[in-house]
């Protein structure tokens, strides 16, 4: 029996070019306000708060709680970027199960302009500062370019397979008024776009935006009758291979094994899926890790199920078209699946949306991401 449910999911407007007066704190607060309003709860009923943001310094979670007038008995700050949503949610569910809180707001986001992005990627961690930033590269594009080449070699994929993912997600984005890139993209345009780091072209690389996402999590027994996403399970994996492998199997693989075992859900049961998509190669890796498609069958699956949008994958357009709002990257996918399960996804609503899954992936320590998680949700009312 699930202990917790998500009863509200918000996303601020995403923008490539934030106004000079925009701040991380304000964009996080807007997402929190919108989520609380949507939940129907009173601000004073919120007794738990969790946040992840790369650009909150010198403040912390308690500063935000104070500035937003949240008086809580459970407080958490997560630092794991693209894996933060699953991580925050896992802890929030445990807090609700333990009685440490009963109504928790989780938020992630950043004001991510060019200067903030450069600071983030050059000082991401000590290994980056010492061993990557002195090299002629900015950010992780070159690392994921080499990972993509490895994946093509190992799994028999071609550049067009990755292009079809980017094109399909752009088609979904055309149905999402909140996506920053909504105009149709053809495979020809994908290939004609400038090379960034071979084999990655422009549309393989996630666009950085300013924005935030938030959810409200409550004990399931107080959400009876409300359209909600019941949390069936959240499983995580951290530092599975010490960065010594090839990066093609992520922490999502171990998380998925644990998730299917603990929830009784099978990969074939998933109706709507958000996988962390900083690059198309990571979409492929996680589809394989989840067991949605066997590695040897990936190309066919992309052509027949993803490119046709027959499979409800990254229906917001994903980060590749909707934008990556800093550390909100993982929560963007969670919000989209919750919207689908609550049948609030507008023109992109999946016909069947009973079981949803979300992956988190993040924290490139040196060569690839080190954190992975899987969230399994079920529509309830």
């Amino acid at each position: 029996m699930a202990a917790a449910s998500i009863i509200a999911a918000s996303e601020t407007s995403y923008t490539r070019h934030p106004s000079p007066s925009e701040t991380t704190h304000r964009v996080l607060a807007r997402a929190v306000r919108d989520a609380i309003t949507q939940s129907g709860l009173d601000h004073r009923q919120i007794d738990g708060f969790g946040v992840c943001s790369f650009t909150l310094e010198p403040d912390h979670a308690i500063d935000l709680a104070w500035r937003m007038g949240l008086k809580v008995r459970w407080l958490m700050q997560d630092t794991n970027g693209g894996a933060s949503a699953g991580n925050l949610l896992q802890h929030a569910v445990h807090a609700i199960e333990a009685g440490a809180a009963s109504a928790i707001v989780l938020v992630a986001g950043d004001r991510m302009d060019a200067a903030a992005f450069e600071k983030l990627v050059t000082r991401y961690n000590r290994a980056t500062e010492e061993h990557l930033s002195p090299l002629p590269l900015t950010g992780p594009n070159a690392l994921f370019a080499m990972l993509t080449t490895r994946q093509m070699e190992e799994r028999g994929l071609e550049p067009a397979d990755y292009g079809r993912i980017a094109v399909a997600q752009r088609s979904w984005a055309g149905l999402n008024p909140g996506a920053v890139y909504r105009q149709p993209l053809s495979l020809e345009e994908y290939f004609a776009a400038p090379m960034v780091a071979d084999p990655l072209r422009r549309y393989d690389c996630v666009p950085s935006v300013t924005g935030a996402n938030a959810v409200v999590v409550v004990a399931d027994d107080r959400a009876t009758g409300m359209p909600r996403a019941r949390v069936l399970g959240v499983t995580s994996s951290f530092n599975r291979d010490d960065q010594g492998g090839n990066g093609l199997v992520t922490g999502v693989a171990e998380s998925a094994d644990a998730a299917w075992q603990s929830t009784g859900v099978a990969p074939s049961d998933i109706d709507v899926l958000s996988v962390y998509d900083d690059y198309p190669a990571m979409v492929v890796a996680q589809l394989n890790d989840l067991g949605v498609v066997h590695a040897s069958d990936t190309s066919r699956f992309i052509r027949e199920r993803v490119a046709t949008r027959d499979y409800a994958l990254n229906t917001s357009g994903g980060q590749l078209s909707a934008g990556q709002a800093g550390s909100a990257g993982g929560m963007h996918g969670l919000v989209e699946v919750v919207r689908q399960l609550r049948r609030e996804a507008g023109d992109r609503q999946a016909a069947k949306a009973r079981i949803g899954a979300v992956t988190g992936y993040g924290m490139v320590l040196y060569r690839y991401g080190s954190c992975g998680n899987v969230t399994v949700l079920e529509a309830a009312a």
């Binding site: 061993h131 002195p134 090299l135 002629p136 080499m146 080449t149 780091a197």
Partner: protein, 109 residues
């Protein structure tokens, strides 16, 4: 100037960057090892800046590093000279070194 990597003093497992505890045996005793060659596994040419070529190199069993390849074409499988000196000229793979390592002992590999 060669590249310094790290070996567990107990079980011999290699690591880069410098670890705190050995991932295999948990020991905190390391020795350094100087590496002057690596095998190119994958490369990418980044358009910005300056069409630089980056590579993944295998420099010891289970130890892979990210390097900038300088002055020449390098094919996967090729063995290249490795340096952590940013100013060295020639056909080399540059891997930025660790700063402030407290590991004193050194062995050649």
């Amino acid at each position: 100037m060669t590249l310094t990597i790290f070996r567990c003093g107990e079980c011999g497992r290699g690591a880069f960057p410098e670890p705190l505890l050995c991932s295999r045996c948990g020991s905190d005793g390391f020795v350094t090892a100087s590496v002057d060659r690596g095998v190119v596994e994958h490369t990418t040419r980044v358009v910005n800046p300056h069409h630089a070529v980056l590579a993944t190199l295998l420099v010891a069993p289970e130890v892979r590093v990210v390097a900038a390849l300088r002055n020449g074409a390098f094919a996967p499988g090729e063995t290249v000279q490795v340096t952590s000196d940013p100013d060295v000229d020639g056909r080399v793979a540059y891997v930025p070194a660790s700063s402030g390592s407290e590991v004193q002992e050194e062995e050649r590999t």
